[in-house]
Symmetry: C2
Subunit: 334 residues, 2 copies
Amino acid sequence: MGARVTMRDVAQAVGMSPMTVSRALRDDRTVNAKTRAKVRQVADDLGYVYDSTAQAFRTQKSGFVAVTLPSVNNANFAETFRALTNGLGESGLQLLLGSTNYRVEREEELVRQLLTRNPEALVLTGGHHTDETRKLVQGRDLPVIEMWDLPTDPLGHVVGFSNSDAMDHIVEHLAQTGRRKLAFVGASEGADMRGAVRRAGAVEAARARGLPAVAMIDAGPAPVSMRHGAAVIETMGREVAQYDALVCVSDPVAFGCLSAVQRMGLSVPDDLAITGFGHFEVAKVSNPRITTVDVQAEDIGRQVVSLLHGIFNEEIDAPVRIDVGSALVVGETS
Amino acid sequence: MGARVTMRDVAQAVGMSPMTVSRALRDDRTVNAKTRAKVRQVADDLGYVYDSTAQAFRTQKSGFVAVTLPSVNNANFAETFRALTNGLGESGLQLLLGSTNYRVEREEELVRQLLTRNPEALVLTGGHHTDETRKLVQGRDLPVIEMWDLPTDPLGHVVGFSNSDAMDHIVEHLAQTGRRKLAFVGASEGADMRGAVRRAGAVEAARARGLPAVAMIDAGPAPVSMRHGAAVIETMGREVAQYDALVCVSDPVAFGCLSAVQRMGLSVPDDLAITGFGHFEVAKVSNPRITTVDVQAEDIGRQVVSLLHGIFNEEIDAPVRIDVGSALVVGETS
DNA sequence: CCGCCAATTGTTATCGATAACATGATACCG
DNA sequence: CGGTATCATGTTATCGATAACAATTGGCGG
């Protein structure tokens, strides 16, 4: 139990040099097949565990891909993360995950920390970063991918969709079905950038179609979820009936609103339309089903994976920009 | 942009030895305050980034805590994970996350991979593991914590609750409110161990109270969620009305069932009671609110953190077993 | 039987930070 | 003013795996 078992120990046990052991364990075909088998056997017997730290140090390849997410407690981000884990795991890469809690300052701190681990690539969620983050990232010869957004001034590669376009789909749909007085339900100004872009998208889309100005319903600081949607509507009470449609920043918020609206005896979509964002499971299962936008979280993850493969195989040099798009999913709440 | 900046480079630039730089950057007070400031300054100017890999290698302390979760796409596990990240982040520890997809074989593979990174502790979700996993873990001088369960034969420390006790609370409540014909809705036999234990708990609790045998409704392979709950009930159709209560393996499944049951015109709880598990947000917001069991996901995370702190400060030697308990939350579906 | 090639194994140096020990400079005491 | 404590910095060796190069063996053609 005392000292750890190293390659040197295994080498001594089989009566060969550490180098041969190193090669054998990596299945190097220049090592005799019998020797390889024997080394494997002895390593197992001794309970040898490979030291990735030492390897990472020596080869200067960490085997890590660093990823930042606003929150892991979000089915969509979790889905993207899953796709990344599975895809990169097959290439022997491990994910180093950090949560920004929807704050760019926290992101900066995280990136600083993640970079000390020598990741082979950095995957950031969103296109808004502090200047310091930009500096940190750009000084290094490190592939960077921003996802879930289409920034105008990208750090490197991009795999995402336009949040404002997606919002435009929603408003277009509402306008076509005769809704005019819209209210946007989202987080307070400030923290959540994607949320802010969606809000702006809704405002602009309404303006472009000659609808009245979009009212703002503040569900509190990001991240906002089901309970915040429900709470803000409960607080408003019947006043909410003055609107034709509640345009929510996400499906969970929409579900909270829906539930609260139903509890006060209003009918959706007869008295009021409600729309969400993200095509979460709850939108498909709720009663009525929520009209939303599918942003293909899993596809984003898969695209990032194949992009990274391209980068590691040196098939890609110039920055790539992939728009995975978004699609309106009409439910029963509009 | 070519070669990376190391401590040696910083040292050369300030005209001191690398050792002094090392000390200065770690805020060692034996280094003159002015020198420290200067070193900091120069390091910044050169764009120096600390190499944690080298540190981990030299000191044999990785700064990692390895964690396995069945899935990150589950609000409860995500919540525990968040608590771990925040709590351990304050001590400068980073989490290495792996998802087992609810399979012990995948867990084994993951543990093997995670161990090569020399984590300072290993946190596993659940108390069921392959023999190989047990061997891997026990051979080493590594703190192990199993969480979300109370295994009878623990690998080390434990922070969890009894899934069968929790299920007993539910069945007790249903029995008291006059429900007799129960059906358990969960994943197929096999993969998800916590689910299996809950099922067994429900069966046993019903038996102990002289209720008829619990029917089994198979919602498909783990992980099961909202849509699986809804789908299986839709497939059953009105047959579901033969039961007094649907005891679901989790809140999302319960919500799916609830939604499907409502769609076919049945009333909950009048025609049928529905219960969930885990006190997910959806249970609080749905309409009606779902009767469930609160398992305090965040508290589990916090307890694990303080346990780890105790271990690292060598205040703890013998294996610790913490039962965070679980509490019935009566909603409107029963 | 010599020489050369292929197959297999070994030797040495190294990645960057830091623990342990050593050294030089300065202050302070009786 | 000698001697010792204190402060500030330097030297050396090291963590484990592996790239680059070196060496040994056996086989086979001529």
